[in-house]
Subunit: 427 residues, 2 copies
């Protein structure tokens, strides 16, 4: 099953062949009917369930290797599957099966004075490459989302989860074949040689249209630095929560604790709390106490320490640190102008939220900050494709080209124009 | 005015500084009101008119240099300005001023069961680079389109039109300043050193978000091969016209002549005519006679030569040649399946048209061909942003990322999400 390919030239040849097969599969896939794609996805979910024992066996091998190599508890938790998680993988595929098929949907249409009727309709992108680390469920989610959007996909999972991904991939292939779709529509790179990633970053001779990296900052940074094809990604989620003097403070307390502490390891977790200097210390203190009581360390400058004695001193680097942990940096700012200045300087342009009742403050926050997601009176932790109603997402993008924010099936499409006439020639 | 910069390091420094200024101008520009941008554009149009003599003087220098260096008549015609063309430049800016401002417009909005209201709204892209050749009007069109869409732009015109572009650029700056917008919003690279293009292709340290090349195939090919930033472009327009057996033949004759001969040098001109083998020779002959009578050379294989004796023999390379001239390649194909196979093999994915009355044929043409623009019963020469009702375009893109087809003000934008809540926290 898993091949070790040693010579660089062999990896290059292998990846070039994978690229050609993916491109060849993209054409029949692009015109596959919605029903056929749905049938394939349902067959995949059933195959996942039927192959539960095989998937768990494979996963045990990965977990044993991880334990032997001293993998952290957090990483092991991401890697480990059980009956419930396998059922969750199947359920996730069914959710994607139930989404509206984006291909062929009319995004916009209009008539011209000469009688031409113009439609802008969604088309698949072509071939998507997904490079990910230890979560084996990405194999299924990415495969299913790409199929739904009519794209071929090349999956390059981490070596940590190689056995699990291979077993899950087998179920996906079974679904494709049951529906009469080409098995090359979802390919799993069969080697853990890192040179395979290098080949993908070079674009597989034009046979790879976009790369989506899913994983830690070092993986995403490498892909961003080296990829010769477009990428949909975010390097980090340095998300801000700003509490204006006009805020409903009870709401602010609830949202601050949720934005930071609901899950500290997700990209939508708040990392910096900006507080309007116009808020009285006696009003700010309960909010900081709430965070502290929830287990959060507070890092701040002297002005905040004067209000909340247990604050640890914040250094300059704290304003640009994505903790992904129970730590928050807190700064007093001069109203919305100060908040905008701070965010435009330090943000990773992922997600920011404002708590305010003054509509002028909200308007300025919405207009003058250019991050993928801006929220008013809601938690930053809603930065998620499922929460946006997109059904499922393959990640969140902070770039401005093509996809931005949650990347769901619609964001995995391009478009073309269909123009209907009745004999028009151009004067 | 025009500096010669000799040391490579100096060009790199100069371009890095231009990039930083463009990025700094992008922020105020992104929040400039629609009225302010419109006022700037109208002031630009007035400045163009007021500076007519200066612009024509500058253009005479370029034309004199071009004549002295043996520039072709076609190139000289593109370069040369007169009173009417200068008036046309001002008029084009006024047309862009009158377009709906795309920034802040809501593309989509929906409600979630938890009460969150989500809007997807247009934002500027940031900094656009335009690399072009001898047409001086591109300076004004690109500057105006980027301003309307809230983007900073770095213009790198050809050395052939350097004096003309500089004079036009002066009018654009006057308009920016009259409206209180930063003059760095529209910068013209002040050197004709080709190293400046190389610096732009490297992305100016992250200060260039997209490059739009406007010019001949060699320029576009270089940009496509070397750019480390996204590009909106088409390398060529190898456009096909397919005439099905179900076609209204009178319509087909009119459209074929228009698609090929209205203007042979535009990217939407038809280069290959595909004819359903089911059309009787006696029905095809008048169409080929029409093309021939309009001055078009016909290149075809033996089967067509048996119908139209004056056909020249077509070689394999004819099917992949963009003539941009009064030449067309003609091939008989086995109905819509044969047409699709030919187009998917040879097309540059720019524009294709089908002439047919059978709706099943039209559906297959529309579904199974993945080119930016597909037309039914209309001429390929409608492949143009103005004809699509976009007001003006900066070019046509054949890539699938972000922009495809005509690139107008909307295609020069990205988007962000604005989410309005009333205290929601994520469970």
């Amino acid at each position: 099953m898993l091949e070790r390919v040693d010579a660089k030239t062999t990896v290059a040849d292998l990846m070039a062949e994978i690229g050609r097969k993916a491109r060849a599969a993209a054409q029949p896939l692009s015109i596959a009917s919605p029903d056929r794609k749905t049938a394939a996805l349902i067959a995949m979910a059933e195959a996942i369930e039927r192959r539960e024992a095989e998937i768990l066996d494979a996963n045990r091998k990965d977990v044993a290797s991880g334990e032997a190599s001293g993998m952290s508890a957090a990483m092991l938790d991401r890697l480990k599957l059980d009956e419930k998680r396998v059922a969750g993988i199947a359920e996730s595929i069914r959710t994607i099966a139930a989404l509206t098929d984006p291909v062929g949907s009319v995004i916009a249409e209009w008539d011209r004075p000469n009688g031409l009727h113009i439609e802008r309709v969604r088309t698949p992108l072509g071939v998507v490459g997904v490079i990910y680390e230890s979560r084996p469920n990405v194999t299924a989610d990415a495969g299913a989302l790409c199929l739904k959007s009519g794209n071929s996909v090349i999956l390059r999972g981490g070596s940590d989860s190689a056995h699990s991904s291979h077993a899950i991939h087998g179920a996906l292939i079974e679904g494709l074949e049951a529906a009469g779709l080409p098995r090359d529509a979802i390919q799993l790179v069969p080697t853990t040689d890192r040179a395979a990633v290098g080949e993908m970053l070079k674009g597989l001779d034009g046979n790879l249209d976009v790369i989506i990296p899913r994983g830690g900052k070092s993986l995403v940074a490498r892909v961003q630095a080296e990829a010769r094809v477009p990428i949909f990604a975010h390097l980090e989620g340095l998300c801000h929560l700003y509490i204006d003097a006009s805020a409903d403070l009870a709401m602010a307390r609830k949202i601050a604790v949720n934005a930071k502490m609901r899950r500290t390891g997700v990209c939508g977790a708040a990392e910096t709390l900006l507080v309007d200097r116009g808020i009285a210390p006696a009003d700010l203190l309960p909010l900081l106490n709430d965070l502290s009581a929830a287990g959060c360390e507070i890092r701040a400058e002297a002005d905040v320490a004067g209000i909340f004695a247990n604050a640890k001193p914040a250094k300059e680097e704290d304003w640009s640190t994505e903790y992904l942990d129970a730590i928050i940096s807190v700064r007093l700012v001069d109203g919305i102008t100060g908040a905008i200045d701070h965010i435009n300087r330090y943000s990773s342009h992922h997600t920011e939220a404002v708590i305010a009742e003054d509509p002028k403050v909200v308007d300025r926050f919405f207009n003058e900050i250019d991050s993928a997601i801006l929220l008013h009176n809601a938690s930053t932790q809603f930065a998620d494709g499922g929460e946006f109603g997109m059904g499922a997402e393959i990640g969140i993008a902070t770039g401005k080209m093509h996809a931005r924010g949650p990347v769901g099936v619609e964001q995995l499409t391009s478009f073309k124009y269909r123009v209907r006439g009745n004999g028009q020639t151009r004067p």
